[in-house]
């Protein structure tokens, strides 16, 4: 156990690096901001992770040329036991975009540094992998689309031949491709497995086929209160998580006090979301190993929860409940009764299902000692959520960085030390019942009062807000640097799968080929949440009906045909109306608004 108390780790950093840490400040409670020269980054990062036990979260590169004439790169670390975030920020001049990579010291930073290189051109010197990660195979070489000179809807010319070279297979192995359309979860991801007989000896991942320019939209087109609705579409399961994390990050940054009742409602919806997500996963796990009874029964049990969400929020999945400063609707007594009634039924049925499943030797045989991720590796790769907790790493954002009403609710962390797919299953089963308990407690304890804070001033520029929210898959992290055009200057987000996916290579090494799908499935991957950054798509050479150029041409023509999706085309001259579109009354008389109706009061 680490012995550092709240301030001790700060003191330790001070004594080790007295010259480099400048401008230490705590803008927002529990979020420490320090500026350091870029050369000192690896040393400080190594010390924080290896000596002080920090967990690497994410790095954020920001194009600050409009404001300060340079770029900013922030590395964010979480001190989970001390309940603090540490942001190490370096300034990088625009004409020398290089930083020293921390990946050799902190392997968890692998993808995020490659992402910064792709999207902003910040080169991590000394990074072991210089291949492209995010951008499509035919994207022009010297264009970094997250820089502020490019618009969100700019179309770049195709430049074939920029595809990242595949990792060479070791001598004597066979390459088995799994993807590019990942067959188990019907999502785009491509694993190339290097097989020695039936055993996996290595792997290579190429994903990010499904990019959406969400971060770009957030800092160039949408405004503060529109982003929660786009954020909730990042994921088809954990939408509430992302919109909640974004709103809380902005509230933190700008010092907006959310009413307590709104916090409780957020927690309530988050827990209900976790309940249906975990039941979904239990079903999916059964499906992956061919045990479809579990799939059918789990999803049958899940469906009343989805109906409940529709009843409570007005939509089955996209609740649209969060705004900056609170939530949009209250939960009345009738809705609370519905929640209690449905949960009572779900609890009984889920208990019956999991009771049967946990003693089922078929399941056990397929899950035990499969997809092993040791505690040491889990810490080194900074995995999050049930994957970490299944590997005996006791982290949970609800406890470590309490948000919404979790401080009041008191969450019990569920940890298992099996380090395999079975342990992850048990963690999720236990969390499911913990969530049911939390929902009941929230309903009982919820205080009265308003659900929306009063915001009567413009939000200030240049404030940083961080928020991590425990999704069903792990910690979703949002970073907001507030801007001055009624929108964030930079919005960075990390879905939990972004971090967990990096651990797959380590998890499937030495596995049988047949166990690979459930190993990957056991961390509940959500490929499409991970992919949120840029537009364009590439053809994957599977069925040669179109070449990638033809496909691209097709999609452009399609965009041009619909003027609303494209900024370059003309408005259509005729528009068809169908029977259910409200017919406008004919022009004249009635249709014109009366001139006197809306006179201002004298």
């Amino acid at each position: 156990m680490r012995q550092h108390q709240q301030q001790e780790f700060l003191l330790d950093l001070w004594t080790h690096f007295p010259d480099v840490l400048e401008n230490f400040q705590e803008q927002v409670k529990d979020q420490l901001l320090a500026t350091i020269p870029r050369e000192a980054l690896p040393a400080v990062a190594k010390h924080a992770v290896k000596q002080l036990g920090a967990r690497f979260v994410i790095s954020v590169a920001t194009d600050m040329r409009e404001k300060d004439g340079d770029y900013a790169v922030s590395y964010i670390f979480a001190f989970d036991e001390e309940k603090k975030f540490l942001v190490l920020q370096s300034r990088v001049p625009a004409d020398d975009l290089k930083i020293s990579s921390i990946t050799p010291e902190v392997p968890a930073a692998d993808w995020t540094e490659r992402e910064s290189r792709d999207l902003l051109g910040v080169v991590p010197v000394g990074h072991p992998d210089d291949r492209r990660l995010i951008l499509p195979d035919d994207f022009p070489k010297d264009i970094h689309p997250l820089r502020r000179e490019y618009a969100y809807n700019e179309i770049f010319p195709s430049e074939p031949g920029n595809a990242p070279p595949p990792k060479p297979a070791p001598e004597g192995t066979t390459v088995v491709p799994l993807g590019p359309f990942y067959p188990i979860l019907e999502e785009p991801a491509c694993f190339r497995l290097f097989m020695d007989g039936e055993r996996v000896v290595g792997s290579d991942y190429r994903g990010f086929y499904n990019h959406r320019a969400i971060e770009k939209l957030g800092d160039s087109e949408l405004n503060y209160n529109q982003i929660p609705f786009v954020a909730q579409q990042i994921c088809g399961i954990c939408g509430q998580v992302h919109s909640c994390a974004y709103c809380q990050a902005v509230e933190d940054a700008c010092g907006i006090e959310t009413p307590m009742r709104a916090k409780y409602i957020r927690s309530l919806l988050l827990e209900l979301e976790r309940i249906h997500s975990h039941i979904l996963w239990i079903g999916l796990a059964g499906h992956i190993i061919g045990f479809d009874t579990v799939l059918m029964q789990a999803w049958r049990i899940r469906e009343p929860v989805m109906w409940l969400m529709e009843r409570v929020t007005g939509n089955r999945k996209h609740y649209s409940s969060n705004l900056i400063g609170g939530v949009r609707f209250d939960i009345d007594e009738a809705a609370a009764d519905d929640i209690r009634r449905v949960l009572a039924k779900v609890e009984v049925e889920a208990k019956a299902l999991t009771d049967a499943a946990v003693i089922d030797t078929t399941l056990m045989a397929r899950l035990k000692n499969v997809g092993v991720l040791t505690e040491e590796n889990a810490r080194a790769l900074a995995v999050v959520g049930p994957v970490a907790r299944g590997s005996n790493v006791s982290i949970d954002a609800r406890v470590d960085h309490p948000y919404a009403a979790y401080k009041e609710l008191g969450v019990q962390i569920q940890v298992q030390d099996g380090c395999d797919s079975w342990a992850r299953t048990i963690v999720r089963v236990l969390e499911l019942f913990e969530s049911i308990r939390l929902v009941r407690k929230a309903l009982d304890d919820i205080p009265g009062g308003p659900v929306m804070a009063k915001i009567d001033h413009d939000l200030p520029y240049g404030k940083t807000g961080l928020c991590s929210v425990e999704a069903a898959r792990g910690e979703a992290f949002h970073y907001v640097l507030s801007g001055d055009e009624n929108r964030p200057y930079r919005w960075r987000l990390r879905a939990p799968t972004f971090q967990n996916l990096q651990a797959v290579a380590c998890m499937i090494e030495g596995e049988q080929l047949a166990d690979v799908p459930i190993s990957i499935g056991s961390y509940d991957p959500c490929f499409s949440c991970t992919e949120r950054v840029e537009t364009l798509d590439v053809n994957t050479n599977q069925v040669r009906i179109y070449t990638s150029e033809e496909l691209q041409e097709l999609s452009r023509r399609k965009n041009a045909a619909n003027p609303h999706y494209s900024c370059h085309s003309e408005r259509p001259t005729a528009r068809r109306r169908s029977h259910f579109v409200k017919k406008l009354p004919p022009y004249g008389g009635e249709f014109l608004r009366s001139e006197t109706k809306n006179l201002p009061p004298m």
Partner: protein, 175 residues
């Protein structure tokens, strides 16, 4: 092993029928359900608050001088009902309609044209309580009329200053 299978069998058998009769029987929606957006041109004052807050830009507003035209591209709608929330006149609201599938996207496009008198509008303009929802750029969502962003690109499409409204509505009627 046997016990687990027995439990699973009981679970499966006790479930009974769980599917719904829909589409052969109507499917009710819960009271708060947010379905397809409907609007009333008689109530609209043309303030553009709905266009300003709409996250997916399915509501587009065009300033044509004497008249304001508000177009709803409902194929983009995410059913958040923010437009209903900010509308000062209740001129736009979510209905219970959810069966909006169509082979032609343009079926989901509809618009209204509101005549704006030049000064009577003052004082009736949309003003939100919330500072970050304020309609700070009038008459064209996000920016002034016909103003490109800093990249020289229009938010959705270049604004067109229209022919007189009379002709415009006739064109709709022909179809």
């Amino acid at each position: 092993m046997f016990k687990a299978k027995l439990k699973e069998a009981v679970l499966c058998l006790s479930a009974g029928r769980v599917t719904l009769k829909y589409p052969f029987a109507p499917s009710d929606v819960p009271p708060k359900f947010r379905g397809r957006i409907m609007f009333d041109a008689h109530k609209c004052i043309g303030c553009g608050g709905c266009a300003n807050v709409c996250p997916p830009r399915c509501i587009v507003m065009e300033d044509m001088g004497e008249v304001t035209r508000i177009t709803f591209y409902l194929e983009r709608c995410i059913q958040c009902a923010r437009c209903h929330e900010v509308c000062p006149e209740d001129a736009v609201w979510p209905t219970e309609q959810f069966e909006t599938a169509t082979p032609d996207k343009s079926d989901l496009t509809s618009d209204m044209t509101v005549w704006m008198s030049s000064c009577q509008r003052c004082g009736r303009c949309f003003e939100s309580d919330n500072a970050i929802d304020k309609f700070r750029s009038k008459r064209w969502r996000g920016r002034g009329p016909g103003e490109a962003n800093k990249h020289g690109i229009f938010p959705t499409k270049p604004p067109i200053y229209f022919e007189p409204p009379k002709q415009l509505v006739r064109e709709e009627e022909d179809l």
